[in-house]
Assembly symmetry: C2
Homo-oligomer: 292 residues x 2
């Protein structure tokens, strides 16, 4: 099975390297040739365009940052659709809107190409260690073909449902993490303003029903004032914007998600969008600035 | 070491039974004699008043439902303070405001009695199984005396700080759980309205950074529409009301906690206050009632 990779940034590069380490033949394409160099050094072939790449692989992974970039890679000049043969499985591992994903899948299906949406959670560390959570939408047969390759990239791999279902799960993931971060930020702020050791509070709560990965990891970030990403606030903002666009399309009211997006807007607007998204703790803290 | 127990309801009864099972001599007091009967059958002594109980024990646990009840048991007619000898340690295991706890502790200190605040998390199941999370505030020496008894009741026992610090930790616990429940409720609703299998979404998210006890337990409740308590909505409402009263006293703005209390108000106002507090899922769901 020949694998292809388009997009060799923070997430795409370690994922491609993990495929190579597992002995999978990999061919890559990158807009900037220097991005392909470390992969070439590790044994990957290099294609001259997404179209050329699509012509020579069985499963093609896309890791680009935004939905317009995905559209360009799929349907632009020298894009995947220009080189793809029937039977190709394309896997978009970025975070996009479920509805746009479904539209892309329908277009590709016309030429016998299957699109899986497979957004991930776990960040750069998860990509490097091959421990990503991968949420997959699309046809079961395409999922079955890509699964052996996913297993070199991730730990928890779930076929959630049809096209777009992976994106819906990722949206849910971002809703849950955003809301939990905000709750933990209010709790840590409350403890500190009461003059209580917030580290002890975190410790006590981790042993009980309030336990979460967010309390464990981001709670510690808040204690240390360490917001080195991790997952950048401006990317969480982009994802919550997708959630709210979908909520609008569904006429579904999600007050907490809306509130989380406002915090992320304020974070980016405060020049802190490159920090980890849990830096919304700063906003909770300075919302009630202690009188000096 | 002689232990005393006042309040033998859903939480107090199994806690007293666990002390008896561990071989601790226990004397109890209950307003209603029938509440004391099963403890007496299990080997407990029965005192005629909180004052009489206070005169014959070393550590005295209080499990009554509300702060006014605690005040009555401590300082009312035939209350603990009327019988207490210097050196007695009183432990309030209910959820009260940190500031009222500190006031009670100061009053008891005048007669050489130490008050610990030791609210718990884990519900009836945790009380029965002796796996409660116990968050303790008060003097270190009093904590050290009560600790061997706490160990028969709970699993995670944390001395958070001075008087009131246990109540602050409990408040933080309720903030985190409330906010996380609301986030999970929005995510589950979003998945369902998108036509995606919410059970698969829960499963995918549990393997990643969105993991929490709330997603695990209350997420499943939402899938099953099973809101048998657990922890009743009207009690979570009471606790969040304490949080907001403290926030007012501190002039601390906690927008998410305020929102959670509004959901709990609406839950109780909808006649669903006896359900588990995660039934606020119903409010998220019906906020955008699907057009029929």
């Amino acid at each position: 099975m020949q694998a292809g990779c388009v997009g060799l940034g923070i997430m795409g590069r370690p994922m491609a390297l993990n495929l190579l380490k597992a002995g999978v033949p990999v061919t890559v394409y990158a807009r900037r040739p220097e991005a392909a160099a470390p992969l070439q050094a590790a044994g990957a072939g290099v294609a001259s365009s997404p179209a050329a790449l699509a012509a020579c692989v069985d499963v093609l992974f896309i890791n680009v940052s935004d939905t317009p970039d995905v559209e360009q890679v799929l349907f632009g000049d020298q894009g995947i659709s220009q080189g793809a043969r029937p039977g190709l499985v394309v896997v978009d591992m970025g975070t996009s809107s479920p509805s746009q994903t479904q539209a892309f899948a329908a277009r590709l299906a016309q030429q016998g190409v299957q699109l899986l949406d497979a957004p991930v959670s776990g960040g750069e560390v998860g990509a490097i260690n091959g421990t990503l959570t991968i949420m997959v939408g699309g046809e079961a047969e395409a999922f079955a073909r890509a699964l052996p390759l996913f297993q070199h990239m991730g730990k928890t791999i779930t076929h959630v449902g049809g096209s777009g279902a992976g994106q819906v799960a990722k949206a849910c993931n971002q809703i849950v993490i955003g809301g939990t971060v905000l709750a933990v930020a209010e709790a840590m702020t409350f403890a500190k303003r009461q003059g209580v050791d917030a580290a002890k509070v975190r410790e006590a709560l981790l042993g009980g029903f309030a336990q979460s990965k967010v309390l464990e990891v981001h709670g510690q970030r808040m204690l240390d004032d360490n917001f080195k990403p991790g997952f950048k606030g401006r990317l969480h903002q982009k994802d919550m914007n997708i959630v709210m666009a979908e909520a609008l399309a569904l006429n579904l009211g999600l007050p907490l998600s809306a509130q989380v997006l406002q915090y992320l807007n304020a974070l980016v607007g405060s020049g802190e969008g490159e920090l980890d998204s849990s830096a919304i703790y700063h906003l909770v803290d300075r919302f009630s600035k202690p009188a000096s």
